[in-house]
Amino acid sequence: MDTSTKLSRTLTHVFIILFGLIMLYPVLWMVSSSFKPESLIFSTPSIFSDTWTLENYKNGWQVVRDVTFGLFFKNSFLISAIAVVANLITCSMAAYAFARLRFPLKKLWFACMLMTIMLPAHATLIPQYTIFHELGWINSILPLTVPKLLATDAFFIFLMVQFFRGIPKELDESAIMDGCGIFQIYTKIILPLSVPVLITTSIFTFIWTWDDFFSQILYLNTVDQFTVPLGLRLFLDSQGQSSWGSVFAMSVISLVPITTVFFIFQRYIVEGIATTGIKG
């Protein structure tokens, strides 16, 4: 009895570990390739190699001229940080309004907001670009950050509305009894009770902004403004010579911040999504 449960447990674990390794293989391959000499990456695609080198990291870091990959990290961090802070403040305010306040045509505005989630990004692309061009914001981080100050990420608003609706109204009422106004209910009651969903929002905003390629290449023209995803593509020319070694090396480095964020906050992600799901 005892041995058979032990056996089945061991078997389960062996299976899970093997399966995990299979899932991890592409990442492991990338890490190992980043340490291989460029000419061996595709000709000997095995994970294990006889020759190891740091050449790719050196070449990759020194992108062109005086531009290093460090600059791309700085730019990416700046944009992501602004996006996270802005989304936290403005999306939670908008969500609070939808969840708690009463104002005319509320249902219509809510539907409009949901519709922006469904609107394909390509449909709004050119008008948006034209607006930013007229404002003279092209080739700066403004088009990538200012919209976040206006609660444009409807997905997060929706997520928060669901969460806020689950917070008992009685708490608001007792706060009103104690003399709280609308804004104080927001800061003193709603926000402190919503930490899981706020963390979920921060993590996803960070990851999505960090990984975003298209809007960044659209609005950033010169290399000194480039972010990590653009920097990685700088090495790739599908028709000519690509420096795959450098791409892999820099990809490994650019995975570090994002995995760190994920591992530190992962239990909150689950909590945030689970609680919004149940109560919503």
Partner: protein
């Protein structure tokens, strides 16, 4: 009461937006040259400080070399500041299309074989006014000038010439114990050689599918052309012959099986020939160094097998990329001067080397051949061989290039998996191709 509040809020928001706009305009005027450039141009058009925006895609090597040339140009022309806008290939044209739609495109833009599509859309400036003045093209290959000439106007300078060829893995030939063919080989020899290679090598096939590029050469060997003088110049019969040729090759074991072929990547580093899945593959000569750099095997570039009936090899010189000038560029003449420097200046072309293909200016090319390294020498040799033996005119891409290439690939795959007979698939291809072309040509009118 509520409504007034809402109105005030809206006003505030608008004010905020406007404030942001003008703020950043001031702040950006030194970094965002585009707006400041336009202002100076309208105020004073003499030898004033101007800024040229130059856009290209490429890999690290191309960025390094192009930037170096830009620095040289700025040194010699102190009144010009060049703002380089470079990126990888991903997203390059998406971005360009958006910029064109918003009227914010760079002054000098790199194009590939799709230059004609952009000329049709009327976003490129004809350079005729500058030819002979700012821009000298007297030593450029005639066929390359033709390739950038549409409706008798000249639209772009060729940054490099290439030619299609068959890349052969010499090391694998040795391993198979088979002698290399002569450079004047025929399709019959090719059909004989490839099954032998497959048989003598373990897990390697004689040849990978030569794709649409090979089909173009195959047609030219029969004095027929994909698209010339505004019409399709081949028949469904030719399509059938081409696909039958490859079907026979697969059946004889000479060509890679569909499973291998479908998984193939166009990227040199991941291509079948570098992976040792096949011994021969068709490539453009400017890709040669990318292929040789990705492996330790020894490669050699061959012309396509000759058509034994017509005795033609059907290969022509081709432009790899162009620099063209944006139609609404405020500094068109300065842009033309930069183009001239880029392709005609000896020092500049020495820096650029073969990265975009062999130089278009014959004098400059001779200068480069004299001091080339081994890989580049192999490419120049091949280009010289082709310019001596070439018996076909340059054929520009068909209108709607991307869509038609996709159609060709799909047709190949339908045939790989026997979803249609070769005859049926070829006829369907031909019909759809004509429709596509008609669609694109009508759009232009």
């Amino acid at each position: 009461m509520r409504k007034t509040l809402l109105f005030v809020l809206m006003l505030l928001l608008t004010a905020f937006l406007v404030a942001c706009g003008s703020d950043s305009d001031d702040a950006a005027s030194d970094s965002n040259s585009e707006s400041s450039g336009k202002e100076t141009a309208s105020q004073d058009s003499s030898e004033d400080e101007i800024t040229l925006r130059v856009a290209w895609w490429g890999g690290q090597e191309r960025h390094d070399r192009t930037l170096q040339v830009i620095e040289m140009y700025e040194e010699q022309n102190p009144h010009v500041t060049i703002e380089p806008e470079y990126s990888g290939f991903d997203g390059y044209f998406d971005k360009l299309n958006t910029q064109l739609a918003a009227g914010n495109a760079p002054d000098v833009i790199q194009f590939g074989g799709n230059l004609n599509d952009f000329v049709l859309r009327d976003v490129i400036l004809p350079l005729d006014d500058f030819v002979g003045n700012e821009l000298d093209i007297s030593l450029h290959d005639e066929s390359m000038i033709d390739s950038a000439t549409f409706d008798e106007s000249f639209y772009g300078v060729t940054l490099g010439t290439t030619a299609w060829g068959v890349l052969i893995n010499k090391t694998l030939f040795e391993e198979a114990g088979i002698a290399m063919p002569s450079k004047e080989w025929t399709w019959e020899e090719f059909q004989e050689l490839t099954p032998q290679l497959t048989e003598n090598l373990d897990g390697t096939y004689g040849a990978g599918d030569f794709r649409e590029d090979g089909f173009g050469v195959f047609l030219a060997q029969r004095d027929k052309f994909t698209y010339k003088d505004g019409e399709v110049q081949f028949e469904p019969e030719d399509v059938k012959d081409w696909f039958n040729l490859w079907k026979d090759l697969r059946e004889s074991g000479g060509a890679a099986i569909p499973e291998v072929q479908v998984a193939a990547s166009q990227t040199p580093e991941q291509s079948l020939i570098v992976q040792r899945d096949v011994v021969m593959e068709s490539i453009a000569s400017n890709q040669y160094s990318a292929y040789t750099g990705a492996t330790e095997d020894e490669f050699e570039l061959y012309p396509f097998p000759y058509n034994s009936e017509t005795g033609k090899n059907g290969i022509s010189l081709r432009p790899s990329q162009y620099f063209a000038v944006y139609k609404d560029s405020p500094h068109a003449a300065e842009a033309a001067k930069f183009l001239d420097f880029f392709v005609n200046n000896t020092e500049a072309t020495e820096v650029l080397g073969n990265e975009r293909g062999a130089p278009v200016n014959s004098e400059v090319r001779d200068n480069l051949i004299a001091n080339a390294n081994e890989t580049d020498a192999a490419i120049y040799d091949y280009i010289s061989l082709i310019s001596e033996t070439s018996d076909a005119p340059f054929i520009p891409n068909m209108p709607g290039y991307n869509e038609n290439t996709q159609l060709f690939t799909e047709t190949s795959q339908i045939i790989y998996y026997d979803q249609k007979t070769v005859d049926q698939a070829a006829e369907d291809y031909y019909e759809e191709l004509l429709q596509n072309i008609e669609k694109y040509v009508n759009e232009e009118e």
